[in-house]
Symmetry: C2
Subunit: 492 residues, 2 copies
């Protein structure tokens, strides 16, 4: 905890990696590409989960749980989906270990315990879930099905980074079934909107809602809606996706229903998910060279109180005041921790809480006792003020609101100044290299042009914004006609 973080300008990527570990959020494990989410990091994820879960239930969804494993024959049923995930699947082939006859004390796979059919560890659950839905759906009366599951999934990524891209990650996946195309489309958009609301109001992270181009679509989807955020290094991050799956999975798994006219029809589907990747987005949106910066909504504790004392008598007197403040704050629904550890000096405590992004730090010393004051320090602005004891709880309350607002505004302003309209490819490349951010440019609508631009610049089309204005123009790369701008960026 002693050494300073690498700064963002020195090496943004190194800054991120160090921050995640030093702030006790997560660390790499003994399993290639899999992380350990530490208690402090997990407490933030739990707060995200609780709010998302509330929002899902408020929009009529219920939780359920489906198996971790997908038999290979189900996995391969929806061809595009299978093709999209085949290259990164963990596959269970055996169900037993046995003593290794050649190595005393060691185990080996029992060659006689080979599974008849291999099991894929779910990279996503459309296959296993639609195979189940077939038995649940006979008639329009059984629809809609609005289900979500909180689960772990595995995608065998070769290059991993804590939270951003890990072989195993935690997520939620909604899987819904509908009578009509319109209803399914509406659901996919609704959930994308839920994600946007969550990101902005709860994570204080502005996002752009859009649709993906064909090449960036989820494998097996007809349309992928997304929320795209912008990190402080000018790279975009896909923070959540919501897919309109058409009838693809219904056809692959033969899920039909009798509609109101009594005719058999295939069911319409959506799926949508956000993951522990949001933790990476949160960190990179708000944090600074001193460490993590957390919006009060997501802080494991919003306020920490640090006593500054030389002897036991001082501490007792300070603790009395601190206990009163704690009670007041808790009564207002504010979470607070009194850090009276005697193993650490105040300076070390200040550094730790700064590194871990506690929104407000209250310090109380002997002078404060004399004056009836408390020192309050804001993590977001690193500013301090002295506040009279009887004003502490209302000041804290209004400062927490101010921090939440300030973090959103700061991120919003950064993003606003990093959306650049360009009309030539030279400009495109210059902006991308010097400034980064979203580049708003005309595109001819073809996969080829998109691929070529990616090859030349590493920038991809992040999305076609939902609120796009129609605008006649010509493709920044080919000069062919275009009817509107799309957003390019380098991305995580």
């Amino acid at each position: 905890m002693s050494k300073k973080l690498t700064t963002r300008t020195e090496d943004y990527s190194k800054w991120y990696n160090e921050l995640v570990v030093k702030a006790d959020l997560a660390e790499n494990s003994a399993v290639r590409g899999c992380m350990v989410i530490k208690p402090y990091g997990y407490a933030i994820w739990e707060k995200m989960q609780a709010e998302l879960d509330r929002m899902f239930k408020e929009t009529g969804h219920q939780n359920a749980y489906f198996p971790l494993f997908v038999p290979k024959s189900l996995f391969e049923a929806e061809e595009k989906n299978a093709e999209g995930f085949a290259k990164e699947c963990a596959v269970v082939t055996h169900y037993r270990l046995q003593a290794d006859p050649d190595k005393p004390g060691k185990l080996r796979v029992d060659p006689e315990a080979k599974l008849e059919e291999e099991l894929v560890v779910r990279p996503t659950s459309e296959a296993i879930i639609w195979n189940t839905y077939r038995n649940w759906i006979q008639s329009y009366r059984d629809l809609p099905i609005l289900i979500n599951q909180w689960a772990n999934v595995v995608r065998w990524e070769m290059r991993t980074r804590l939270f951003l891209r890990t072989a195993e990650f935690l997520w939620q996946e909604g899987h819904t079934a509908h009578e009509t195309k319109e209803e399914a489309l509406k659901e996919a958009k609704l959930m994308n909107n839920v994600y946007a609301t969550f990101a902005e109001n709860f994570m204080a992270m502005p996002v752009i809602q859009g649709v993906k181009t064909e090449s960036e679509r989820f494998a097996g989807a007809e349309e992928t809606f997304c929320i795209e955020a912008l990190m402080q290094d000018g790279k975009a991050l896909q923070a959540g996706t919501s897919h309109f799956l058409g009838q693809n999975f219904a056809k692959a798994f033969d899920v039909k229903f009798a509609n109101k006219e009594g005719k058999q029809d295939y069911v319409w589907a959506t799926s949508w998910g956000v993951s522990t990747r949001l933790m990476g987005a949160l960190i990179m949106t708000h944090s600074d060279d001193n460490g993590l910066v957390l919006p009060p909504t997501l802080a494991p504790y919003q306020v920490v109180i640090v006593p500054i004392y030389k002897n036991e008598d001082d501490l007792n007197a300070i603790s009395k005041v601190a206990n009163g403040i704690q009670a007041d704050l808790r009564a207002k629904g504010i979470s607070v921790k009194y850090d009276d550890r005697d193993t650490q000096r105040p300076g070390a405590k200040f550094a730790q809480h700064e590194l871990q992004g506690v929104p407000l730090r209250l310090a109380i010393g002997p002078k404060d006792l004399e004056n009836g004051t408390v020192e309050i320090a804001r993590r977001d602005t690193l500013t301090k003020e002295i506040v009279a004891l009887d004003k502490v709880s209302e000041t804290v309350k209004s400062l927490l609101d101010a921090i939440q607002e300030n973090l959103f505004k700061r991120a919003f302003d950064y993003r606003a100044s990093h959306i650049t309209e360009v009309d030539t490819f030279d400009e495109f490349k210059t902006v991308l290299e010097t400034k980064g951010g979203f580049i708003s440019a005309h595109w001819d609508g073809t996969n080829e042009t998109e691929a070529k631009i990616k090859e030349l610049t590493k920038a991809t089309i992040r999305c076609i914004p939902l609120d796009n204005k129609p605008e006649e123009g010509v493709c920044v790369f080919t000069g062919k006609p275009s009817k509107g701008r799309v957003l390019f960026a380098k991305a995580y």
Copy 2:
């Protein structure tokens, strides 16, 4: 939903299986031995989780998350633990599928994507966690570590049953690290006590706290504490366990710390868990031939209101009354559902809610409107009463309390009448076959006798109760001296 359940006396096992499926709790999946937990069943599990999570946090524990996979070399490090679980491990050997050259449209394991080291899908997480703790613990200042994780685990059981024994199940596993043996033992007992409190106060399920004999201990534990419940068919069910692991895992993973005297010592450990098996225990403790019976604490909704009407006008008038009742009940913190579906008749609704164990059913018909009354039916006793409208919310509140109490009392009385002291082996066998339940008998303390009794009768020692009175006696089987009785039973 139409056909009646098999009764418990006809076939208890069949009754259970039918009930789980018909009450929409869970069903078998396409993956051998793995279940789908349906929304209604999952909602009950979520309530269990929420309460347990609260109790864990109240006793100072934090949540975290560790990888799903355990590299084989870590898995085999603690020898007894490895031996105990090796026979039922799902093993990942490959990380990629590819197009099968022989079968168009099919996939196969890519033979070139073989893992250097096999990965065991966690059957329990001691190995991966203690390998992590090694880096977290240097000094006594880093102790205790009090961590819990909510996760899925896989044990490749050959004979599976919904909730009771499934290849994949959901659970929580606490893993704590301590300075001293005393502290670790205290923790193991504390958590067993948390489980007992939860089982009795929340699930309305009486349990006996005890310790396991050596042969029934968790693989790798020095002592296993447990809570044992009794099902309505006279079979016992282990509902939760808490293990004192000694220094076994610390030694296997070389986890040492500098103690207060500055000397290096191995860390002391505990682990403890309950799983979705509790759902099976809940069902079998309270339910009857009409279906599920739920304690109000765990019911997805505690009250259902069913309107009885012939025309739209009636329905409107009833809905007005029902809305008022709903508002009153919600204000009292009672969860309520107004079942005004027009696709079902009241009789079908009654049957469904009875099958699904809703604690209280309110019915309102035109006559009730005239009289200013409501009919309230209790699920546990199947009794009904007519209540004046202005008494409904207080009656509901007190009935819910009464149901919770009655369920516990009923289960307690059943158990009390099914603990039989026996002093001869003939008596032992007769009681076991005719009456079942717990048999309290003297045992000579040897593994051999225990094994022999199991072989002859299928009864195992469920536990040595913590509140056992010392009593001189002779072993019911060998006649050798014994210092106290233990509890035998056939068990799930």
